[in-house]
Symmetry: D2
């Protein structure tokens, strides 16, 4: 199985990227994880949606080929980063590769709240008509990782409690993928 | 008085751009309107926020110098376009030029709803801590222009009922700007 | 098949009630529709959730017995009415009869927007952990009936275009119910 | 100065009620706090809005007479409790006592998140046309009290860090009230 990960933060030492890399390594026996580079996508423009740039084509193709998608997002101004919304906007048009695709939202923050507001909006966006993804139901599966400074070291998530919880969520997501 | 307009759509014949150009011309006796080019801004990256590109510097300067901001947005996937959110994300950091700045949200759609969901989220984003704008209160001032195909011609808003309503909203906004 | 309808408005001549009654009659060959009386439910109180009043017991039982739920809501202050949220709050605890239950949201308004903001929030609430309903995906299925004054007469929806659209949505919902 | 408090939870030992009682006592030198009983209000019904029951009349009068309002809410299903929304629905009609009234939102939860989603929606509802309150801007003023079990004892908030933070928020709110 192949999963594509979208990371909402573009900074080099992003905790959300570290989380995704932890998942790539820790669950390599369950699936292959590819990380999409949303930072190279141009801003969505309807004039170009039928003849998009190579970057957009490859990004949409990468999602279309995947069995599922993980989205790890920081919270910017009570919402998702513009760059992440932009990537989702591209997927919502023409061939629409996220329709019916299993998606697992998650997020890491330095503050206490673990991007809860960003993920609330993300779920709404993923549910909208054009995107229409299959979101993993939230019961037992909401990944809000706050206080990142205490839970990550050397580029990896190391907090035992969080890792144990993540094991369970990933198990649930893999089962959910198989049901679709 | 000077107002800066942000247009959420990047397509050449955008109705939201046409609305903003109609406002520029129709109310030129009340204020000078400048249209910011959000399409040239790079994706926000925290690593660069203290040493941003020239485009970002000029965009933030343009807002800082303005007396107020008008945001006209399409609706993408029940929310604002990524490119618009990205522009707002830049404003929310370091010098934060939108703090306390009067803002008037509006939007045009080809469908019936006039971007009501995009504007609902936009108001929330503008209210958030980092942005903290002074949004014109909605009572009597919600500009949802639906069925654009019937209300615009030759690059301009021509629907009389909508123009009369807009006159009133702009009056309210100018009064609101003066109160701040 | 049996469907329970929740109506968000309590006024006697509610358009949302008229819509539900139109559905009851027009699709009687497809399902039996029962209308729940949410107006008699007490305000939710955690102290009483394990020993609720008869009204609450019967309401939850009615939902548990149904194959699906239709919720028709007005918009109050950009959201659902308190009385409707209260009914949903009761369902989210102890036996939780809405978990996995197919739900079709809809709404009628006298203004143009057809309760789009109320339904946006309703979808979010229905998706939350405690309620966890199976909402009919929105593509092609969003029922926003605006300008009610022109579309209803003698206690019924009579607008042909809206009825034709409704026929399709109900077909989709019945198919969706069968898939669950 | 007089402040009216609305408490979103109706249970006897509600932490949100304990928070409000802590505020009543701790800041009695700054303002008199009255606690409104939203649990006795009937469900809002448009048919009755011009001739409401005594309970509704007194509730609206209490708000009209107050200099400001504090709302302390639990989170039910990613939103505010129905009973609280119902109280706000009543205020949004006819005499509309919340228009322009300073409001401070807050909330307590047993979990980690401190009702952040409920308050996000509450701010949106308070901002809507019919209610149109003056919400204390969120910067430095977001009161999310999580892990209540560790912060309250004998019916009072006793956590020193939280109390110190609350002192600052209340100072900001009193200053905000005076500016209006």
């Amino acid at each position: 199985m192949k999963i594509v990960a979208l990371v909402g933060s573009l900074r080099k030492d992003s905790y959300n990227m570290q989380l995704v890399k932890t998942i790539e390594k820790r669950y390599s026996h369950l699936f292959k994880l590819e990380i999409a580079d949303i930072g190279i996508l141009p801003h969505y423009n309807e004039d170009d949606e039928k003849t998009p740039s190579e970057e957009v084509k490859q990004f949409k193709h990468q999602i279309a080929e995947a069995d599922a998608v993980i989205i790890s997002t920081p919270e910017f101004n009570w919402s998702v980063p513009g760059a992440l919304k932009n990537a989702l906007d591209w997927t919502s048009r023409v061939d629409r590769p996220l329709v019916g695709k299993p998606v697992l939202p998650m997020g890491v923050s330095q503050g206490a709240l673990g991007t809860v507001r960003a993920q609330l909006h993300l779920r709404q966006v993923l549910m909208s008509m054009g995107i229409d993804a299959k979101i993993l139901p939230p019961a037992g599966n909401e990944v809000f990782i706050g206080s990142a400074g205490q839970k990550f070291a050397d580029g990896e998530l190391i907090d035992e409690g969080t890792l144990t919880f993540l094991d369970k969520v990933i198990d649930n997501f893999v089962a959910f993928m198989k049901e679709q």
